[in-house]
């Protein structure tokens, strides 16, 4: 196992890649929240069915996945060349390209660009990259208000909450909770607002309409950027993206360097893979593409910020670099038994679920997200659904190895990590879950005296195969205690 000295990770103290507490502790709380688990269970079951139907319609799905995987791998192999080509194409069409080594630099670039326009308010299209770098907070400290315009982001922002899903950041909220947030925090909202999703969507429309029509600066992310043509792409549903990409005078797009694709024809693969995998639709309602500046149409000032923030460190690890292939569809979250039970907040990073478990530790360095590679049962469902075939289970195992190496002194994973691995395994399926329920009582008995000498089957295989370092009984028992019964649906 290699450690890549000198390749900087995403810096500490800025952005949202690290949680306040390790995964096991955070998951502990989430598991105790029955409402959260009901909301997640309902939403992920809905989307799993939709996705399965949308994918079953496509006869050449596997060929598309193989093409998607290969395009991404080929792109990473020549990433520098593609970025240089992208920069030249965007510049030739009147856009400006900026390079940001990390979150701090990206935030400074964007803040300076907004300041130069004189605007004190910007509208934003949902973007993982800007969440990752904590752009809203940076703008706020510069006296600039960032208004999130995606419905779920708006729910999160109004509720002073944190996103918990890549695609649907408010997935942990049900309609009634959303209604309550709107009633409490949305200025001028109809006091008779019901929890009918259509009424809620209309309330968001009314709230944001004036802002769209008068905004001077918009900030977006990018789903793809085509190197050969300089074409940037945003995939969305509500039309808030189109509003932001079209109406303001200035558009600033922040994009991770791994989002570049070599050729326009590559989009014919990803625009099939992404919508069916993410919202389970044949095609999402709106996709916008633009190339630099078009006179008389849309923003006349366009800035593209290319962000590293640890990505080159991920690239440097041959066994882990395919985490950069992710197109952020969120399918792996929706099928993950651990995500379904803990929700996204427990992962501490803006990237939750299986992809978060492999991406966040690589962006920050394993020592800052040491428990995440254990937040999985290695059941493989994520790999099966991933539209670009990222072998998440293998990377998890690889990162566990890195973690062990990092703790070479003790030559064993931390007790937390072991407890997590056991819990994750148990959460992997309803059958095991019920089994675990029965084991719970046994587990308590066995743990008497503060030590677990031997676990009952099937966990006995594990304790037999290795010298289990006395996990702090407290942590272990907390785990078992929080989950009985509640997890059954």
């Amino acid at each position: 196992m290699t450690t890549f000295l000198g390749m900087p990770h995403a810096p500490r103290g800025v952005g949202q890649l690290r949680g306040d507490e390790p995964f096991p502790a955070a998951a502990d709380k989430a598991l105790a929240d029955r409402q959260l688990r009901r909301n997640l269970g309902h939403a992920t079951a809905t989307i799993r069915d939709k996705r399965a139907r949308a994918v079953a319609e496509v006869a050449d799905w596997e060929q598309l996945r193989l093409a998607g995987e290969a395009i991404k791998a080929a792109t990473m192999a020549r990433l520098g060349e593609h970025l240089i080509e992208l920069e030249a194409a965007v510049t030739a069409r009147g856009g400006h390209v900026h390079w940001a080594r990390d979150a701090v630099e990206a935030n400074r670039i964007v803040t300076d660009l907004v300041r130069a326009t004189g605007a004190t308010e910007v509208v934003k299209v949902k973007s993982m990259a800007t969440q990752e770098i904590g752009l809203n907070e940076a703008l706020e400290s510069a006296g600039i208000t960032a208004v999130e315009t995606d419905l779920a982001e708006l729910i999160v922002q109004l509720g002073h909450d944190k996103p918990s899903h890549i695609l649907v950041p408010a997935i942990h909220r049900n309609r009634t909770e959303i209604r309550d947030i709107f009633l409490r925090h949305m200025p001028g909202v109809d006091p008779d607002l019901t929890d009918d999703p259509r009424r809620l969507a209309m309330a968001a429309r009314a709230h944001l309409r004036a802002k769209f029509l008068t905004a001077r600066v918009a900030i977006s992310g990018a789903n793809f950027a085509v190197a050969e043509t300089g074409t940037v792409t945003v995939v969305e549903s509500e039309g808030n993206g189109r509003m932001c990409l079209t109406l303001p005078d200035t558009l600033i797009t922040v994009m991770g360097i791994e989002k570049v694709v070599p050729a326009w024809t590559d989009l014919e693969v990803f625009l099939q893979l992404l919508p069916r995998s993410s919202t389970g639709e044949r095609m999402n309602p709106y996709t916008s593409t633009w190339t630099g500046v078009t006179p008389g149409d849309g923003p006349q000032e366009f800035h593209l910020v290319l962000l590293d923030n640890g990505r080159t460190a991920v690239l440097a690890d041959e066994a882990g670099r395919s985490a950069l292939h992710c197109i952020r569809c969120s399918a792996c979250l929706n099928v993950c038994p651990v995500y379904e039970r803990t929700g996204g907040h427990a992962y501490g990073s803006v990237y939750p679920g299986p992809i978060g478990a492999i991406l966040s530790p690589q962006l920050t360095g394993i020592e800052d997200n040491a428990s995440l590679p254990y937040a999985s049962s290695l059941c493989g469902a994520c790999y099966d659904v991933c539209p670009v075939r990222i072998d998440i289970p293998s990377i998890l195992v690889h990162l566990r190895g890195e973690h062990v190496d990092a703790r070479a002194q003790r030559a064993l994973p931390s007790p937390e990590a072991l407890a997590m691995a056991a819990a994750a395994w148990t959460m992997a399926g309803p059958r095991r879950f019920r089994l675990g329920e029965r084991l719970l009582r046994l587990g308590r008995l066995l743990a008497r005296g503060g030590r677990i000498r031997r676990l009952p089957p099937p966990l006995s295989a594990w304790t037999a195969a290795r010298d289990l370092p006395e996990p702090p009984a407290q942590t272990f028992r907390q785990w078992w205690r929080t989950r009985p019964g509640d997890g059954r649906r």
Binding site: G6, L83, R101, T289
Partner: protein, 214 residues
């Protein structure tokens, strides 16, 4: 070192001097079973558009004017500044209408650059009969005319018809959100009503010209 050089140098270090580049297998389907404009594709497009809550009218070229007049009756309609597709009394986007003006019209009427039947997608590229992007975004209703020869079957066929240097908008149904419990709800910030008028030869149109409510 400036940021650009430093990032590029990090990338070179990360990938090594001679990274392995494997060829991309492209044995996915590019063309569909039907030629562009085939009657089957017009039916499929209509079905897929309706599935995502667009309203669809079918007519022949000879009936187009009457159909558009009927569909837009009583509405204040905006059209691109030099569009061949129009209705009597339409407001041309010349000089460019303000955002507030666009917000005030009842509908915008345009053509399209191409459409994809498999996914029920309409593509706009800012051509003369489509206008700038704001025009098809701010009004609450979008009436879009699709001619048979513009309809292809697959997403690859659609993209290969388009010029990426033009600003493109791909539209699949009216605006929608899945943000509340991951259920799809139509009608958020983009046009809440999408009316597609599919123009095909006689015998392909069915008999479904009728007045929409609202």
């Amino acid at each position: 070192m400036n940021a650009r050089d430093e990032i590029l140098s990090r990338i070179r270090t990360a990938t090594g001097p001679s990274p392995v580049i494997r060829p991309v297998p492209r044995d996915y389907a590019v063309a569909g079973a039907h030629a562009p404009g085939a009657p089957e594709l017009l039916d499929l497009l209509a079905e897929r558009l309706r599935d995502y809550r667009a309203t669809v009218h079918r007519c022949t070229p000879g009936d187009l004017d009457a159909t558009l007049a009927e569909v837009t009756r009583g509405w204040r309609v905006a059209v691109p500044d030099s569009s061949a597709i129009t209705v009597p009394g339409a407001v041309a986007d010349r000089p460019a209408l303000s955002h507030a003006d666009l917000d005030g019209v009842d509908a915008v009427l345009t053509g399209c650059a191409a459409a994809c039947a498999d996914t029920g997608t309409i593509a706009l590229d800012g051509g003369a009969d489509q206008g700038r992007r704001a025009l098809t975004l701010v009004p609450d209703r979008h009436v879009c005319v699709i001619h048979a020869d513009q309809v292809v079957q697959t997403v690859p066929e659609l993209l290969r018809r388009l010029d990426p240097r033009r600003p493109l908008t791909f539209i699949s149904g009216p605006s929608a959100t899945s943000d509340i419990e991951l259920d799809r709800v139509e009608g958020v910030h983009g046009p809440r009503t999408l009316i597609a008028v599919v123009v095909g030869p006689a015998g392909t149109t069915g008999n479904n010209v009728h007045r929409e409510q609202g």
